[in-house]
Symmetry: D2
Subunit: 359 residues, 4 copies
């Protein structure tokens, strides 16, 4: 019972990796929004498998169908249902793990929690579900664009290779120009080679996706529990393989003194209130303050590796789980649009929730 996200701009995803398909219902999208069907497809394409040799070689077109909520090119205020049928399901690739528990996968926990599981490709626990999030996030992005909010993700770390520059020193548009989605072309090249070497060794590696949100008006976020950064954190941590979230100064901020960390207010030439530094990451007291929002999301190395691993089956017998199937050696390049999508969903929801703040 945890497949719904959001309070007003609310999504419910469904579907398993090797079932009939996956999809999402978006409830609460305001009526009258131009439904840019091509943009939504382009976002799905950014996430889809088979983009380069460092992503999984599964072939899925990830084309979606609009079942409801759109009429004559505009949203109608009623639920928008988007479905994506599964293709290229080599379910028999998974018959060998029907009763095995793959290490650091969700096989064991799903089996114990539900007493039954669709083992094919991880079923519901597969990252395939995130395609539905990306589709919904694309609709949220359309809404956010109307109010000037832009969300840009990029890869800032792969294994030990860390892009040591703050986002202000990067040209983030370059992230989409390479397969890694790192905005520094040289670093991107090195990361690519590294991921490829990991792939060849049948292993996997972790990484960090960073994200910057510009144009947010002051006032988004609902303290004391639904703080803007708290919802962003939950949204990111709900993505497969995520192990950590930090925003603004993050874990590094711990090392600073208050006198160093505090962001001084001033008024810019337009009369807008701004801060001279932005350790706050665009959020104060859980509410956006109009400065850039930025955060980092840590992804673990993908659990599926092309190596044999000792494990257990459902009966407690020791087994060897074989490394088979087609998987990403490093998840972060394809995770960038997912991170953006989840951020868009969070902001769209807070934008609508904020409409009731004042008389």
């Amino acid at each position: 019972m945890g497949s719904t996200y959001g309070k007003i701009f609310k999504i419910s995803t469904f579907g398993e990796s090797h079932g009939v398909g996956i999809g999402v219902i978006i409830e609460g999208c305001p009526a009258g929004l131009e439904f840019d069907a091509d943009f939504i497809q382009s976002e799905l394409t950014r996430r889809k498998p088979g983009q380069s040799r460092i992503t999984t070689q599964r072939k899925e077109a990830d084309e979606y169908e609009v079942m409801s909520g759109v009429f004559e090119g505009k949203t109608t205020g009623t639920p928008i249902a988007l479905i994506i049928r599964n293709e290229d399901q080599r379910s028999k690739d998974y018959s060998h793990i029907a009763t095995q528990y793959r290490p650091s996968h969700a096989d064991f926990t799903y089996q114990e929690k539900y007493g039954v599981r669709d083992y094919r490709g991880g079923g519901r626990s597969s990252a395939r579900e995130t395609a539905a999030r990306v589709a919904a996030g694309a609709v949220a992005k359309l809404l956010l664009r109307k109010i000037g909010i832009e969300i840009t993700g990029y890869v800032s770390q792969v294994g030990g290779m860390k892009l040591g520059k703050p986002y202000q020193e990067l040209d983030l548009r370059k992230a989409e120009e390479n397969a890694v989605r790192c905005p520094d072309p040289e670093m991107a090249e090195q990361m690519f080679e590294y991921i490829d070497s990991v792939r060849k060794s049948g292993d996997s590696v972790g990484g960090v996706v960073s994200c910057v949100i510009t144009g947010t008006p002051v006032g988004l976020g609902e303290p004391v529990f639904d703080k803007l950064h708290a919802e962003l954190g939950k949204a990111m941590l709900s993505i497969n393989a995520v192990k950590g979230f930090e925003y603004g100064s993050g874990f590094e901020g711990v090392n600073l003194l208050g006198s160093e960390h505090n962001d001084a207010f001033y008024t810019d030439e337009t009369g807008a209130v701004r801060t001279r530094t932005n350790h706050s990451g665009g959020v104060q007291g859980g509410i956006s303050n109009g400065q850039d929002i930025y955060f980092n999301v840590a992804f673990k190395p993908v659990a599926t590796i092309m190596q044999d691993q000792e494990s257990l089956d459902q009966d407690g017998n020791i087994v060897v789980v074989q490394g088979k199937g087609r998987h990403d050696p490093c998840v972060v390049p394809r995770a960038v649009p997912i991170v953006e999508a989840m951020a868009a969903l969070v902001l769209a929801d807070f934008y609508l929730r904020n409409k009731s703040s004042k008389i």
Copy 2:
């Protein structure tokens, strides 16, 4: 509209720092739980101000009153309302900031979002609100104890001083024996001196609270959005001054290869399924796997410092915000029970939600 947390074991907090009082309604606590009133008070006492010279010198007894939901020493299944009246309110300490925006506080964002704010002591954005969370968390702990779950928090970092040991090598019970709540007595002493020196210089410093949860049954957590670690993350990030959250291998896990990071399953002598390592932090696919859950929470340096800072007032004039009032130079010692309380609320809710997983 964000003052409610939880789906079944659900809390709603209310109250401002310098208003009449604060409080919480707990809805969804099962009937028949022994209501250990003294334990709840002891948890509040762990959080209350004035515990040592490195915490704020405000005097608040933080005694609570049970208004409903308990009869003859047991919960009745109806809402439990707990209230704590405010005392020692030196509201005039705050008259100087009635129209000023304190740097890195929530004054500006609350004013913009709501058009009005109770400026006294930060009003609703004050960490005083967390006393209500601790009271509710104590009730959650009572429930969790019935099923064998124990939650232990401790300070693992203050500024640059980092306790570089994994929790398994520490005697966590020692954390409560010193004012810093660091389980390593020597490190605790150094941290204490450091915080005290920061205090004397009128400054503040950040820190990290770590937390370990033992005894969790397999099956808690509700994918795909309400994953156990995602809710823990949100709950922690909703605490004042938190900038980051990581669980299991966390941000460090990024550096590992999949073959290093995967946790191998085995069966222990009792026949229970266990993992040889625990990079997963007790959670796989968003569901508890029965191993220890552990995570870190980063706190920024407190925004209130005893130094003058340039800022703006509500009319956009440049002003000097004076360092006044009684505040913590480092928030982490008092944050330990808050972290535990939020973790308890998350687990209690998932425990009840899990009752519907299977036929």
Copy 3:
């Protein structure tokens, strides 16, 4: 876990009849609303016991305290907590029913559901809880007044005595001029005498409260489940002793042909779209159409009567439940402000929810 009502303008009530007190948290009330404390008290006074000899003779001042969410006479957008302490608790009046199941009361069902119950005065199942609703509803009324919505309830039936006139033919302001709250003075007098005779015979009798809402803008209500009339229905049915709800043509409308029942649209002199008849009761497709909303709420005879009744105790023994205590012989006069309060809560919530309907 059912003590919360509303999605944006959301209330959570707590408290038992003979505990420390009762209260309510209002979350989601917009900031900047003038908090008319006297009006709220006057609404509580309309509901309080002891208004005349046909209402219970319990003495409760029902004075409330504002614990949070209001600053300098205005709402701040943070949770508003209102508490009312219990007085005049003759709990020993109830000791005789500690283990008995009063007929048609909630003693048996609470005991079975929760395994424990606060038997004093019905505990949580007592209609005393509705005082919290009235307080919250008064705040909702303050919000609705800002947009021109007025809600007026009145008694239209007591036992078999039915006020056979449509509301348009009545001067509803007269309802508050008599103890029964029936706007027809003659009928009110007869109803009063009848209720008083029922009271003297130690019995009780049912009744109907009718309610009219004027000034509702077009657009309130959220199909397909949260239709305006469906939420009104739930809200009314959640009031103690309610057995039925109908709006517009209601159960009588069944007898009409479509050609008789349909409400023809026309444009009035101001250019506003109106309907010539209003069998729709101001709601079409679950959304307000700008015409008057009107509905009826059926209340059963109060279960507590001053007569001995055979029943069971918790152990299954046959017992005689004695008629004791101070109770209303007919609930509808005091139910009028409760019906209005619940209607106000429904409309306030839909008013805020509707802010997200369109781009």
Copy 4:
């Protein structure tokens, strides 16, 4: 934002009458339930158009596809998505009302609320949406059967023709044996003729569906707002064309004295607590007491009639809305499975919610 129903067993419907299709996601259905696909189809068939000459002559197979949540014939605890594609869409039948407001339809209110509407066949406001409810309700019925709960609806009134017998005197199984779904064959015949005559005159007529629920355990319902009968009321009122709801003694109960209305407890031969009468309708204090639950639902005459009606278009011009299309002259025969489905959804949700009532 009102297309979701339920707290744990939660459904979200989507789709418009003449769009691609309709469907539903069921979240929170426990894992391990046998998914009886044929039963679900049979329930849809009970609701589908074209059953006899007194129902609409539209031809829709209403065959559904399971997209997720079921594996090897059992539910997996993950969201169950069911979709039904639209067929036989004579959308051009509706081009004449693209800008017209049909009397007592939702055209005007949708247009005003959303600024845009899918006018074809009523779009989202069409009763076609209820097919999704019936599919979801069938799954709920499968769950309820496991615990012995059976739900039976029937037609008890058509226009002024009222089946004047309590349900105990009827053989409810006979309801499914005739096109009207009235369990009294003679009355059914008369109702059929009457509806047919109304149809021939191009008019429509209202009716009442009654419903009986047997086998409910004690304890379902969550006071004080989510009372069992309050949720039943909301669920019923959310069905298209419903104008009223009453349970147990209902509006008639108003006329009784408390001494007549109270249900005396006794213990039956099995030791179970029962009541001698059941004016309470199986619910006391908002919680099921184990007796039969019964209620009535009033449906207005369908707004679409085969007669010309004066109305307005979107620009405020007076127009004549022509009677066209294929519609039910009386909605109650096809409404029976919808009433049952909604009741099943309410009970399934309360059954799961009740799992957290006690330690």
